[in-house]
Symmetry: C2
Subunit: 677 residues, 2 copies
């Protein structure tokens, strides 16, 4: 019998044992990891670049070493730079596994770009950016009027724009004399931050050259909106996996990483900042003409004017939201205490930090505005949601659920607002399940189970035809993504495969039900091996079901306890924020008990509201004040210390909920509704 080695792929966390001697690409297929390999392992495309991690990863029980793969091949040098080689990068197709490994698959090597639903929505924002630009013309110095460059401009800014007592950033000042005497002699565009500080000077009239970025740092995904600060137009939306995922999937595991590793905080922060710089660079590159292979064409293209051709230096403002843990880790603020009762953050209020002090490469004199935190883990991201949705201006009692790896809840209206957070975990986003995956081609997004035969029909992203209308090998199924998760749970229950408690029905006799040959745990086969591109059955295990139940239970219980605290029984509106909200079948979510009863037409998805809030703060400085106000005026509820928390939580995990809790579903219990469909 051949020897096996443990291999774990990050950031997906897919893991398993594979035969020593197999290539990393082979292992990735066996374990269902999507590594790009365009050339079919002919060692010519260089797409399968991965990083072999070094060290002891106790959480996974492996000691990974670069010595545990076969030696470096000459061909790899064509694609892996010497700097990358030093960092441990290899081509997956060239590496044979010789021992336990932790392998990091960078975003660009992952097959099938994620379908990120973090596009900017059209929310109303009044134009009043923190950085404004002014055009001034000054007169040349003379013996009669030999005033200094700076005072010359300040006099003009006061005379024509009423600005006074301005200071200037030291690095901007250094450029002033040359820019004032450039080809546009004595004419300048001056960029002023908060009517207080000059952060950039450019020769001539460049008032349209005025850009900024709003960034939402999620525990799992980071999204960024590049905006023109004069026209308010969203030029581009770019996103990436949070590069901290390799240190832990949720906020608590990252805080633990910091506590267990001397320079853990530094490392996580630096990775995040590098990530932000990548996003900035990507967004800027998107405004340049595409690189042509033919040099002649390239030259012609340059003449065209439709390309903005921005570089990071053109970004003069940046706003950031994120939950308290992401906020603290980004800023290298000790996140240890916000993870310990009574969960005090290091700071609530918003911060204005010089980009250069953080190491973020936008304009060197620009500030970064980090929005304020509420309390506990409910941080600047929720403040972003609040200033985008403005429940504090509403008569209706709203429940706003931001479903991410960390769930955040707000309840109330203009009279009172309360917030709380619950550890939903990433299950609802498709992570942490045996075959959970991101919303990428091959991911199951809809599912139906025949109550009689227990036959499964499903649809995957990237293919219109359902399983029943396709040949098995056409499906190329890989796993289940967030939007399919609730479907699976509902269908398993409706068809009697699982019970109210979430346990597999011991009486059921489905041929798809079995005990795992590896773990001996009960599991249900969603897709057979021959329908998949990963060479193995896609299953859902008892543990998976438990994960989903925990997530939905945490959410439901949180909502319930908050309503009790507010003394209300009904909701006027439910808003679902986050990527999950845009894909989910609202009715099924309601029936499965993700949140308390509400008229279906009052349940709306508000997309990435946190990101919208960051954008609102970028384009309107009043929103920054509003954010600081609301952050201190939302009452934070620590759910875990609420009366009956455990009991409520246990109850909320069951499927489905009691009849009397769903008057909007016409008095039927969820069970009946499901059966009708």
């Amino acid at each position: 019998m051949s020897e096996k080695a443990k291999v774990i792929f990050q950031p997906s966390g897919r893991r398993g044992e594979v035969e020593k001697g197999s290539s990393l690409i082979e292992a990735s297929r066996q374990l269902g990891v999507d590594i790009e390999a365009l050339c079919g392992e002919k060692r010519v495309c260089g797409k399968c670049k991965v990083r072999i991690e070094e060290g002891s990863f106790e959480k996974f029980g492996v000691v990974s070493s670069r010595a545990n793969v076969s030696p470096w091949q000459e061909e790899e040098g064509k694609f892996v730079t010497p700097a990358q080689k030093k960092e441990g990068f290899r081509l997956g197709c060239c590496c044979k596994i010789q021992g336990d490994l932790l392998v990091f698959v960078p975003e660009e090597s992952r097959a099938g770009k994620q379908v990120v639903s973090k596009a900017a929505r059209d929310i109303p924002i009044t134009w009043d950016p923190a950085v404004k630009c002014y055009y001034v013309e000054v007169v040349e110095p003379t013996f009669e009027h030999p005033t200094a460059d700076m005072e010359r401009i300040l006099e003009e800014l006061y005379r024509t724009h009423g600005l006074k007592d301005l200071r200037i950033d030291y690095l901007a000042l250094r450029k002033l004399p040359a820019r004032l005497r450039g080809k546009d002699r004595w004419k300048l565009t001056v960029y002023v931050w908060m009517d207080q500080e000059i952060v950039r000077v450019l020769p001539g009239d460049q008032r349209l050259n005025h850009y900024g970025m709003a960034i939402d740092i999620g525990t799992t995904t980071v999204a960024a909106y590049l905006c023109n600060l004069t026209t308010m137009q969203v030029i581009d939306t770019v996103s990436m996996m949070n590069p901290q995922c390799k240190y832990g999937e949720d906020v608590m595991s990252r805080i633990t990483y910091h506590m267990m590793n001397k320079d853990g905080l530094e490392k996580m922060s630096d990775d995040m900042i590098q990530g932000l710089n990548t996003l900035v660079r990507q967004a800027c590159e998107g405004t340049h003409p595409p690189k042509k292979k033919n040099k002649g064409e390239d030259t012609k293209e340059k003449g065209k004017k439709e390309y903005l051709c921005l570089n990071p230096n053109d970004l003069v403002d940046l706003t950031i939201v994120g939950n308290t843990a992401m906020h603290h880790i980004l800023l290298k603020l000790n996140p240890e205490f916000v993870g310990l009762a009574p969960f005090p953050p290091v700071i609530h209020r918003s911060l204005d930090i010089k980009a250069r002090d953080m190491g973020v490469s936008i304009n060197e004199s620009a500030y970064i505005h980090v929005l304020p935190n509420e309390a506990g883990f409910v941080g600047a991201d929720n403040v972003g949601v609040l200033i985008a949705e403005e429940p504090y201006k509403s008569d209706e009692v709203q429940l706003i659920i931001d479903i991410g790896t960390n769930g955040e809840l707000v309840l109330g209206n203009k009279e009172k607002l309360i917030s709380s957070s619950c550890a939903t975990g990433p299950a609802l986003e498709g992570a942490q399940l045996s075959f959970g995956m991101r919303a990428a081609p091959g991911a199951i997004e809809r599912i139906k189970i025949d109550p009689e035969t227990h036959e499964v029909d499903y649809k995957v992203i990237g293919r219109d035809a359902w399983r029943s209308y396709s040949k098995p090998e056409e499906m190329k199924t890989k796993g289940i993504c967030g939007s399919g998760i609730l479907d699976v749970l509902a269908e398993l229950y409706r068809s009697g495969v699982i019970l109210k408690s979430g346990k597999f029905n011991p009486k059921q006799k489905s041929s798809r039900f079995r005990r795992s040959p590896e773990t001996n745990q009960p599991e249900f086969i969603i897709a057979w091996k021959d329908e998949t591109s990963i060479g193995k059955d896609v299953v859902i295990t008892q543990k998976d079901i438990r994960q989903i139940q925990l997530a939905k239970g945490a959410l439901y219980c949180g909502c319930k306890l908050m309503m009790r605290r507010m003394g209300i029984k009904t909701l006027d509106k439910v808003k679902i924020a986050g990527a999950f909200g845009t894909h989910v079948d609202r009715e099924k979510a309601l029936i499965m008990g993700l949140f308390p009863d509400c008229a279906l037409d009052k349940v709306v998805s508000v997309g990435n509201a946190a990101g919208d809030g960051a954008r609102a703060a970028l384009l309107n400085r009043g929103k920054r004040q509003e954010a600081n106000w609301v952050a201190r005026n939302v009452e934070y509820i620590e759910l875990t210390v609420e009366k009956d928390f455990q009991q409520e939580f246990m109850q909320a995990m069951q499927i489905p909920h009691m009849k009397d809790e769903f008057p909007n579903l016409k008095g039927l219990v969820a069970e009946d509704i499901l059966k009708q469909k």
Copy 2:
């Protein structure tokens, strides 16, 4: 006949031709440069470290190359580090001269530490520093009151000290959680800048640990005062040569260096900043117990409490003054335009710059306050003089003369103040003369010439007995320092060696008068070779006399033109600032026509008033406002464009001045007075 090579030593500027094959130490002796050589060239003390410069120095007509000295000797490696070797450092005793050279002698290799007269004076300052420290005790967070660390402290600072709307420096914030939970749990000392920003937090009560530094950057000398910001005590005064001297002796030559060298500004600024860091380090080291060779003793010493044991991180504020060129070069602001008519600076107003942005290693969150500039070259140094002397509060019409390499003049009282600058050059400080030198042992500081015999009697620094009471070899004369310069001129004139015009009297027959064997120019021997430690006669040449005349003429003419502009004929007070003022014989200065007539008891020396101003701004924030106000309310006069400037200047160069210009000298012409003495 043996071949010669041109050798120039910097920063003194001493130059001459020496025989090829001689060592650098021999050359330094011949040229009167004071290089330390404790071991007598036995290659064992390593004190004679010098740097061989590379490049073409057109100003001096030499092309210097490291190849122009003999090869590296193994012994040098004992004292010259590999990094220094790379920079061109050698031991002077090991290098034989093989071609033209420009040699830089670092401060530590110069024999005889300069007698710097930049000690802090006792001027009245009201305590109100820009950075204040507050002690707070806060309560521990609870579930009922889980406020963040920052807000917890802010609430307390508001409650107990009335401070509000404070922000916090990003780097100080990072340290907050740990410092709050240190051994002095929930007790903190908080350092607040200008009632606006928290720049440091320390555990427990550390209100006496509160330090700052005031720095005066002169063209030639940099002086720094380390102060306790709570007690206002001056802990120490440290000083050094301005490290930029190697790029040029006066402001114009440094501006030229910037214009001729792509990274000239960067280099000069970086050298200055490194210099500031050296001063900070030196001042801090002075607060530690001296290092003992015996380890046992060292341990005992540590127990004593009288040592403050500061480190640069303890400095939370720093103020800087300097003329406009020093200001611009330090801050890397293009100094080109302030050197060109109509001489506009880049900025007038004061600047508050994060020390970390400038690369100055004091506390990382601290600000540096750079005082404002007036106009032209009259910069923050003169503003320092003004806020120290406060002529704008006086009824008396004052003339304040700050004599440095660049002379700065202020005239007026509380009704009106005008200022101007004049290029005195460094002659009055003893530089640029054939045998000019700093005020160090061996420098002639007093002189008498017998009108009959023309015999010279003189006194040197470091020896009480005059020449006439000493054996020749006891004098160890090296040159003439600033305080001896006016003596020389006056005595040469009194004894008839020179005429009113400054020219050598062609009729005189002194045996000390001769034509230089090297240059064939007329010169007068002050000290014979056997009285010196440099192995050659100390002389004063026609060119030297011309330099002194130019300096005093520039000053006198400036004063005269300013008085004309103000419409006044008499002065109530003359204040002489700068090191020169503390050593000079006021009567002789008046007679020689350094400044217009004034009652002798109204002529006072005010020491380093610029540095005092920097200290006042460090200890009193109101002085910063006052500085900005006065900088914009002193009228700057560009002397060179005044009517009759050339004529007045030419006249002012003569010695002595007309009878009617000196009513205070009892109606006698200066000539008579000198003869009476």
